[in-house]
């Protein structure tokens, strides 16, 4: 176990030194994941809200599909996006394969069902409380969805957090569509996998530590926001 502490010490030195390669990998990871979460919210929030707030034929089916897609295996998403973007695939001419764009697409596909399914639950609960009052006030359908999303804003922050957690920790999809190319598509999780197999444990562990710290900080921020919201009964 002496080795572990030695490696951990060296990994902290790497982080402390602000190693250029390390920083580039961290920044690319954050860029890909945050963009994917943003896009997923753009699609998943209105979609989940619509399913949660309206009754329509086929609604139960949409629910089942969304919930099933929440558990999509990242490697399968990676494979499907790979097929779409590969030279012979329908989106091949865009030449997005092995670029950060491909990684963003894969993670968006992975996270959108999570955001949509969890949003549906939040909005449905809120709608149960508000529906009669809104009907009494004559609130139109668009205004209703907008109001439900706004009043659920602090719960939805947790939804986005769940999406972020899934995307930032995911390795299969970005590895397949990104290819883990040095200085181009190398992110924290793919680097950890690669460097571990190559025996470069200091860098792998350094990235592992950074990943944990990022997860802790993001969670702490969201919890703090929610706590202040609870005090004013907004959550």
């Amino acid at each position: 176990m002496g080795d572990f502490w030695q490696i951990l010490g060296e990994s902290f030195r790497l982080i402390w030194a602000g190693d250029g390669d390390l920083m580039a990998i961290i920044l690319l990871s954050l860029r890909v994941t945050l963009t994917a979460v943003f896009l997923s919210c753009l699609i998943g929030l209105p979609l989940g809200a619509a399913v949660g707030a309206f009754r329509f034929p086929g609604r139960a089916l949409v629910n089942v599909v969304l919930n099933a897609l929440m558990g999509l295996p990242p490697v399968v998403v990676g494979l499907v996006v790979y097929l779409m973007l590969s030279a012979s695939g329908p989106l091949g001419p865009l030449q997005w394969l092995y670029t950060p764009t491909a990684m963003i697409i894969a993670q968006t596909v992975l996270v959108t069902p999570i955001v949509a399914a969890l949003t549906r639950q939040v909005i449905e609960d809120l709608n149960t409380e508000y529906a009669e009052q809104f009907a009494s006030m004559g609130v139109g359908p668009i205004a209703r969805v907008y109001a439900l999303l706004w009043d659920g804003r602090f719960s939805l922050l947790t939804v986005a957090l769940a999406g972020f957690g899934r995307a930032v920790a995911e390795v299969g999809a970005v590895l397949i569509v990104g290819g883990n190319i040095n200085h181009v598509t190398r992110v924290m999780t793919t680097t950890i996998a690669l460097e571990t197999s190559r025996g470069n444990l200091q860098l792998a562990l350094a990235l592992g530590v950074v990943l944990l710290v990022i997860a802790l900080v993001v969670n702490a921020i969201v919890m703090a926001l929610r706590a202040s919201a609870v005090r004013s009964a907004y959550a």
Binding site: E129, Y130, E132, Q133, F134, A135, S136, M137, G138, V139, G140, A143, A147, W150, D151, S232, A233, Y234, A235
Partner: protein, 262 residues
């Protein structure tokens, strides 16, 4: 002596609202069974009756939140439509307040009612000051006390300047001081010409606020008339039992309907 609603109708005065043979069935059960009555404009009607009599459901039927299985609801002699419903507002038993500030709650309702953006703040503050809530305008609505929340719900309804206000047991869980504040607000609205239809369990409140009375029992109208008269001299055995604090049990239902039909 003020005329009863029935007298007014005989004189050719159109009631603000009419219920004609309202029936509502769900899951095989008939929750209201052939309700017919009038609501006179500018007056305060109290709807009373034991639990399960169909009071809240009656309000929802009149407000168009629930569609009757049979019968119809008329507004100024015409079927209740969206335009007519825009002239009604309803305050629910448990106030439904948005997770926003007091002022934002007001502005939301005004926006839904189609009040132009530039007029909303002024209208909101006016209604809040009437409810003596203007100092709380920027507080989160859901941290207000129960009485303040109910006054906000009423202010929010009144801010939209409805012609008719429905209230479903607005003081059900309030202490006497908060009840007084809510009743004062209702009386102020009534003085401004707003027709009030309220469900209450409280005979004292019915005497204080009620001008017309509709007493429901087991989904049927057991008795209607002037509140002051009927609460002192009930005609139906159900209302008499209620006022005397006796329980009118289901086993006696058949005789009850015969008695009220006399």
């Amino acid at each position: 002596m003020p005329e009863t609603v029935a007298d007014l109708v005989e004189d050719g005065v159109l009631p603000l609202m009419q219920a004609n043979g309202l029936v509502f069935e769900t899951g095989g059960g008939r929750l209201v069974d052939g309700l017919s009555f009038h609501i006179a404009e500018g007056r305060r009607t109290v709807v009373m009756g034991p639990n399960g009599a169909g009071k809240s459901l009656t309000l929802r039927l009149l407000h168009g939140l629930v569609q009757p299985t049979a019968g119809d609801v008329l507004w100024r002699g015409r079927p209740l439509d969206a335009a007519a419903r825009a002239n009604q507002a309803m305050v629910f038993q448990r106030p439904v307040l948005l997770r926003r500030s007091v002022l934002a709650n007001m502005r939301f309702a005004l926006a839904a009612a189609g009040v132009p953006r530039r007029d909303r703040s002024a209208r909101a503050l006016e209604a809040l000051s009437q409810a003596r809530l203007e100092t709380l305008a920027h507080r989160p609505a859901r941290v207000l006390s129960g009485g303040e929340q109910q006054r906000l719900a009423i202010a929010r309804a009144l801010g939209c300047r409805p012609q008719l206000l429905f209230l479903d047991e607005p003081t059900a869980s309030l202490d006497p001081a908060a009840t007084k504040a809510v009743e004062d607000l209702i009386l102020t609205a009534s003085d401004e010409g707003i027709t009030v239809v309220m469900v209450t369990h409280d005979t004292g409140q019915a005497r204080r606020l009620g001008q017309d009375l509709i007493f429901l029992h087991a989904g049927r109208v057991a008795e209607t008339g002037l509140a002051a008269e009927r609460l002192n001299q009930p005609h139906s055995p159900q209302l008499a039992a209620w006022l005397a604090g006796r329980l009118w049990l289901d086993g006696s239902d058949n005789t009850a309907h015969e008695a009220s039909a006399r």
